[in-house]
Amino acid sequence: MCVLGVLLFVTLSVAALALGPNATEGWLPLEADNKKKIPILVEWDGKSAVVHTGKQLKSIQAFSDSASKSTPELSSFVIEMTAKRQTHYVLFAVRPSGFKDFQLLADEFRQKKVDVGYEPISQDKPVRLLQPSK
């Protein structure tokens, strides 16, 4: 019985850890389906923007030290998104540390008429996009 109890405890603990705060959050954009636009997920923590392209992650330093001037990396990403704004939009996962400067970042895209969506997420929670079911 002791063995059973220990194993049950271990099973529940593993399940709790796996399903707990460190579980990956999967996002399923609904509105994008309606607008037939493809979301590009960008994690924003206040310093760098992590762009999810397929299964690859690309980190971009968004602003220079002045906090208002965008870096060449960000500018090229904005240009890239502007070129495909009819078919894609930027979906931000905004972490609490990025709350302060988020509107600055989003404005870079809004000014180029790139659609944006944004959703807050806990500081350390991993996130990824799900493919909408057809």
Binding site: L7, A23, E25, P29, F99, Q103, E119
Partner: protein, 214 residues
């Protein structure tokens, strides 16, 4: 002489079925553990995310901070500030009238609104600073109650001409998620939100950013 009946010997149960039972149960538990780890290493939480879009509906604002939801009735507070402010006495009184907005205060149960002006050579700006009261708003634990003040506040809003808009601070994330769920999924409102850092003041500027639906 009566012969004493021989006492039956105690039957020793075989341990083999017990071992079978134990090994079967252990096997099932290990299987469940492996399955859980494999399943949970992927995606667990589903969220349905809308896109930002402008709207003709007017926002019913809330501030989410310190695990509380504070209804911000900025329209009523601004109206009261304007009444206190009055009107310019003449065309030559314009600048001093603008300056008189600075420092005027009005309050309700949740916020203190304070007028602010900035007059420089040839230009001016007008803003209103909303400071939450320490005991204002509703705690997260109470808003999901069936007859909570938050639900009553929402029920009094017109769902066609209003949408629910949240200003969210880092320490108000959980209350935001719950409040938005109630507003959107249970009461059918469109919603939107705007991030606000811990030390960023909640200030409405005359030509500020418009609230958008999400």
């Amino acid at each position: 002489m009566r012969r004493r009946r021989k006492e039956p010997e105690a039957v020793q149960p075989s341990l083999v079925p017990m071992v079978d039972l134990l090994s079967n149960t252990v096997g099932v538990l290990v299987f469940i553990m492996i399955f859980t780890v494999m399943a949970a290493s992927g995606v667990v939480v589903l969220k349905r995310l809308p896109l930002e879009h402008s709207t003709s509906a007017t926002p019913a604002n809330f501030l989410c901070e310190k695990d509380r939801i504070l209804p911000l009735n900025n329209e009523d507070l601004s109206l009261r500030l304007r009444k206190k402010w009055g009107s310019p006495r003449s065309i030559f009184d314009i600048y001093s009238w603008i300056a008189r907005y600075d420092g005027i205060e009005a309050e309700d149960g949740h916020f203190i609104a304070r007028g602010e002006t900035n007059l420089t050579h040839g230009s001016y700006s007008i803003s209103t600073l909303f400071t939450p009261k320490p005991d204002g708003g509703y705690a997260r634990q109470e808003i999901h109650l069936r007859d909570s003040a938050y639900r009553q506040y929402l029920a009094a809003l017109d769902g066609k001409s209003r949408f629910v808009h949240f200003f969210v601070r880092p320490d108000g994330l959980e209350s935001f998620f719950l409040a938005r769920k109630i507003a959107a999924e249970e009461m059918g409102f469109s919603t939107g939100w705007m991030p606000l850092d811990t030390d960023q003041p909640l200030r409405f500027v005359s030509e500020g950013r418009a609230a958008t639906q999400q």
